[in-house]
């Protein structure tokens, strides 16, 4: 079993020195996601900004408790998505999801995923895929909450 395929140096670096960690103001939405099997948790905030080309991911801040894979994944994701137009960030999200669900058969695009390619090995450890996806799912959820107009009921 190739442990080093799972624990890439980049992952361990992000784990020890996470980027963009901590919860910041202002934010458009905050979500809390947990992995019920192991109890890993992330609280994540998203702040979008308007630009000429539509909404942009202005900030992603988070507070995560969990294993090296889930912590590093939050760090890599925040670094990758901050500053990107929301539409592009969503498509990067899809790429990362496909990589994680690809059972080790998907070849990642380093141009798009940058440090995210280090997670390619995680796809071969089915029990850890959920760890790698925790923050990404939280981000998608939070972003959807900011971009979806409130329902009438919520406005009331």
């Amino acid at each position: 079993m190739d442990l080093n395929a799972l624990y890439q140096e980049i992952i361990l670096d992000h784990y020890k020195n996470p980027l963009h960690a901590g919860l910041r103001e202002p934010y458009g939405a905050e979500v809390r996601h947990v992995n019920p099997t192991c109890g890993d948790e992330v609280t994540l905030r998203v702040q979008l900004a308007e630009s000429a080309d539509g909404p942009v991911v202005h900030d992603v801040s988070y507070d995560a408790v969990g294993c090296s894979i889930s912590q590093a994944s939050a760090s890599v994701m925040a670094d990758l998505l901050i500053g990107k137009p929301v539409a592009e960030a969503m498509s990067v999200h899809e790429d990362f999801l496909a990589l994680m669900q690809g059972k080790g058969q998907v070849v990642p695009d380093e141009e798009r995923l940058e440090d995210g390619v280090a997670f390619a090995g995680v796809a071969k450890f089915p029990a850890r895929v959920k760890c790698a996806l925790l923050a990404w799912m939280a981000w998608k959820d939070a972003t959807a909450q900011v971009t979806t107009p409130l329902t009438e009921e919520e406005v009331r």
Binding site: M1, G39, D40, V65, G66, C67, R128
Partner: protein, 417 residues
């Protein structure tokens, strides 16, 4: 270790223990509190049942039906005598401990008369319960407007009994507690709690999921009203659990699930119910699994529960001792093998339990990482998860050594300490 068990001979009964895992590492199975492995004797009984005797129980006159029914009911006799049940009819087969505990909590929610739980009544549990002995009581108290209260824990991981007399009071209807904690390993003083609960007329439910596998059990001597346990943790198959309850109590409780076999007679307007145990066994029961559990009990008895308990104690003491050598380990729960079962949960400074178990797994060492279905107990100790090693009658000191070597390797791998 001076051992009462011939562990090498016992290991030969468990085919899976010869398995090789990735990179040809021998399996070091330290997750028996999660589920135990099964001896050939149990596998053979399951196989023989399906090959030669398979039929539904209690509803066929043909020879196979008779054989199957006899084997199923014989398993009930075996379990009853194993736990010292005053009557075989008090042994109800369920699918696991969780179902047994839910059966009690649900039928109490439906009970009328003296057993009824309502507004102003209290149910007392403890902070070290498995989720299976928390959630059913939350559901009961929420549904009935009753109050859920609990014993807290000491820093050592024992029940804090200082406020027992106010916690268990005349409003208390039920006290439900774990006998041996699956996370902290603590063996609780059930008899003391039974005494107080019975003083105030409360019924006592004991979650014996980790106790029955490793301790000699006599439910009559224990004094509790209900005891739940699960077959797969005591070298039996999955899909079978046991609810033992005092006859008078079981007779007063309303039925749980309705269906075939639990009735006396059915008319379109209403039905009357069978006597215990069948009143609580609606539908085709887990027949092969019950028979397999009977075989598991025979196996444990042939080894001897006193000897199993002594082995569990010795191997736990050995592991607790060796864990102190690793450095950076904090054991959650009693650090000495006194009133302590064979599950050791711990933290390793600087490495998350998920990562600990992943690296151990790469060396063939199987442990559990996470909250072990005891989130409140983890929260009590300010941690979100832990790594747990747990032992059983087939665990050897060299397997504990493999764990210790593995933990040194984990530290090296993650460059801590």
């Amino acid at each position: 270790m001076t051992d009462l068990l011939d562990v090498e001979r016992i290991r030969k009964d468990f085919p899976i223990l010869t398995r090789r895992l990735a990179d040809d590492h021998p399996l070091v199975y330290l997750d028996s509190a999660n589920t135990s492995q099964k001896p050939q004797q149990v596998l053979d009984v399951l196989d023989t049942h399906y090959r030669l005797h398979n039929a539904n129980v209690a509803r066929a006159v043909h020879q196979l039906g008779v054989e199957s029914t006899e084997a199923f009911e014989a398993a009930r006799d075996t379990v009853a005598s194993f736990i010292g049940a005053p009557s075989r009819d008090e042994v109800i087969f369920t699918k696991n401990s969780s179902e047994a505990l839910n059966l009690v909590a649900n039928t109490l929610a439906w009970a009328t008369g003296p057993l009824a739980v309502g507004a102003g009544d209290e149910v007392v549990i403890t902070e070290m319960e498995h989720h299976s002995n928390i959630v059913p009581w939350q559901l009961l108290t929420e549904r009935k407007g009753a109050t859920l209260r609990w014993f807290g824990l000491t820093d050592e991981g024992r029940l804090d009994l200082t406020d027992i007399d106010s916690l268990v009071n005349e409003r208390t209807k039920v006290v439900s507690l774990v006998w041996v904690s699956n996370m902290l390993g603590t063996v609780n003083p059930v008899a003391d709690i039974v005494r107080r609960a019975h003083e105030v007329g409360a019924i006592v439910v004991v979650d014996a999921s980790q106790a029955v596998p490793q301790l000699p059990v006599d439910v009559a001597a224990l004094g509790a009203d209900v005891v739940a346990f699960t077959g797969h943790k005591m070298v039996g198959p999955t899909g079978i659990g046991v609810l033992w309850g005092r006859r008078e109590l079981l007779e007063q409780l309303p039925p749980f699930l309705g269906g075939g076999e639990m009735i006396e007679t059915v008319a379109m307007a209403r039905s009357t119910y069978a006597e215990i145990p069948h009143k609580f066994e609606a539908g085709t029961p887990p027949i092969a699994q019950a028979i397999g559990l009977g075989a598991a009990v025979d196996y444990l008895q042939s080894v001897g529960m006193e000897a199993i308990a002594a082995h569990e104690h010795e191997i736990t003491a050995y592991a607790l001792d060796r864990l102190t050598e690793v450095g950076g380990i904090t054991v959650l729960g009693p650090t000495e093998a006194v009133d302590r079962g064979g599950a050791i949960s711990f933290e390793l400074d600087g490495v998350h339990p998920h990562d600990v178990s992943q690296v151990l797994d790469s060396r063939g060492v199987a442990v559990r990482a996470g909250h072990h279905c005891a989130k409140p107990a983890h929260a009590r100790f300010g941690v979100q998860s832990s790594t747990r090693a747990s032992f059983y009658l087939y665990t050897t000191p060299p397997e504990v050594d493999a764990l210790i070597d593995g933990l040194h390797y984990v530290k090296k791998y993650f460059r801590v300490g």
